[in-house]
């Protein structure tokens, strides 16, 4: 075996690559389990691709056959029910993992210089994921699939001048119909491989700037440890915990994320009582509905997703470590997280007066968090420097401030 590897190594940097980027790769020794969610996301991506490919062997992307083909998979294909439930639960698992991954990044300030590009490749990945999930949801061709796709494709009408044409172009027809289903299937199959490539780019960016860590301070070289075996085993243990939770849902509550209405074949003549997207889109759906104007709502929703990209510039504090040494940033983070859950609640319910009011308030809080950050972060910086910080942190902050002021 060693001879074969030596032969390859003369022609391809196999051992070098594995040693340099994986096994010997220096990693801060104090990474907590919150740093394992990136690995989990990659694992769930593989689950989705594998289960998706095997589902595609039996699924029929035709509006007359799609719903029946899903029942064929559930009832007649060997272990079809298992592959289907792994895939439907996997979509929710993917978002749960990614949102946690994003929360870790925001809390610890891992989006800050020099990790801006790492954060932006992550943003790109999130957008690809959302598109993939949206298109995938149409495929079962249930009532919620159909009407959810109708509502969201309708949003593109907000585009000035060409709105109607764009919607028709997207759908391949005058309503969501067979052409829409076929092209969504084609693209839903394609996008995960684009995601795979984007993950590779994301990892190259990561390996260039190296992982941040909970202290926010770049550790001395002696405090880095090789990724293998320390973090391979730690990530695997985290994976074990994740798999238990994930599989408990797959085997014992598999319909948890499947809306009841999606067990009814799509009926273009009848809208279900409540059109609700999957849980992972609810906060953005709530923001969309909070603005009474169609175009305004679409713009607000788009910005609510894209604004994360601005974080490296919105956060003007030079105190490192994210929320750790910054009590106000920490408070804003927790308020923001609670606000997202409130928005989710709003998105899940029909827009009564009460719900609408809560929605408007939560949407305002959502955007205010971002808009106030530039000012609050600077004020807070003064506040914590005056109050006192650990020496290393204070030294870093003062150095950065001096450099910035020196440049002015």
């Amino acid at each position: 075996m060693n001879k074969i590897i030596a032969w390859v190594d003369q022609r391809f940097p196999l051992t070098f690559f594995i040693k340099h980027e994986l096994t010997d790769y220096p990693t801060p020794r104090n990474l907590s389990y919150w740093w394992g969610f990136g690995f989990l996301a990659g694992f769930v991506l593989v689950i989705q691709i594998v289960t998706g490919i095997f589902l595609a062997m039996h699924y029929k992307p035709d509006s007359n056959l799609a719903f029946d083909s899903v029942q064929h998979i559930m009832r007649e294909v060997n272990y079809g029910w298992l592959i289907r439930y792994l895939h439907s639960t996997g979509a929710s698992a993917f978002f749960a993992v990614i949102y946690t991954h994003m929360a870790r990044t925001l809390y610890y300030g891992s989006y800050r210089r020099p990790r801006e590009l790492l954060w932006w490749t992550g943003q790109g990945l999130l957008l690809l994921m959302m598109a993939t999930a949206f298109m995938g949801y149409l495929l079962p061709w249930g009532q919620m699939s159909y009407w959810g796709a109708t509502v969201i494709t309708n949003l593109f009408k907000a585009t000035p001048v060409y709105g109607d044409q764009i919607v028709t172009w997207l759908r391949g027809g005058f309503a969501v119909d067979d052409p829409t289903l076929t092209r969504f299937f084609s693209l839903h199959y394609l996008f995960p491989f684009l995601i795979f490539a984007a993950v590779a780019i994301h990892l190259v960016a990561l390996h260039t700037v190296r992982s941040s860590n909970p202290s926010g301070i770049n550790l001395a070289d002696k405090d880095n440890i090789p990724f293998h075996p320390y973090f391979t085993i730690k990530d695997l243990f985290g994976l074990g915990i994740f798999m238990i939770v994930y599989l408990l849902i797959v085997f014992f509550k598999p319909d948890l994320f499947i809306d009841a209405a999606n067990n009814i074949p799509a009926n273009p003549m009848q809208t279900p009582a409540d059109i609700v997207p999957e849980w992972y889109f609810l906060p953005f759906y709530a923001i969309l509905r909070s603005v009474p104007d169609l175009a305004g709502g679409v713009v607000a929703m788009a910005i609510s997703v894209l604004i994360f990209a601005a974080m490296p510039y919105l956060d003007r504090s030079r105190v490192t470590g994210g929320a750790r040494y910054r009590p106000i940033y920490r408070a804003m983070f927790y308020i923001f997280v609670i606000d997202i859950f409130v928005l989710g609640y709003v998105g899940a319910h029909p827009p009564s007066l009460q719900i609408r009011t809560i929605g408007e308030v939560s949407t305002t809080i959502y955007f205010l968090t971002f808009l106030l950050l530039p000012f609050v972060s600077r004020w807070e910086e003064k506040f914590v420097l005056a109050r006192g910080l650990p020496p290393a942190v204070e030294a870093m902050a003062r150095k950065e401030i001096a450099e910035a002021e020196g440049n002015v």
Binding site: F54, H58, N78, G80
Partner: protein, 173 residues
Amino acid sequence: MSEENTIKDGADLSRREFLGTVTAGVAAAGVAAACVPFVSSMNPSSDVLAKATTEIDLSVIAPGEEKTFPWQGKPVFVVHRTPEEIAAMAASKGGKDPEPDAKRVQKPEWLVVIGICTHLGCVPNKTESGWLCPCHGSVYDNSGRIISGPAPRNLDLPPYHFVAENKILIGKA
């Protein structure tokens, strides 16, 4: 002092290696087991397996007639042979793949063969004395035995049995 540590380390080392090996083994078994549903899903689904057998009513075939029925996606020739045909087949041994006619039928008046030429898979056409394959000219007799032409074997026999006087179930012996 250092010797104590070494001995303790040694014991720890082998215990750790044991734990590592066991964990790796358990994980590998899990990976192997995880492959089973995916590989299994590619096997025929229950609705396809239900089509593994086809019931055929023989009363629609008059003596001297032949009818073709689909079974598992393949054509099956069912011939209601006349006494003359049966006698002629009993007297002959066939061609390059000799086989007594009696071994190829359960009841002599009913010949049931898979209608796929054993050469390269075309469907032969019925003639007076048997079948002729249009692709490369293989000739079969009224027992489905290869008489002349490139086909190496007699027409294959599907498993079947009589469920009633005039009904057979193809797919199960």
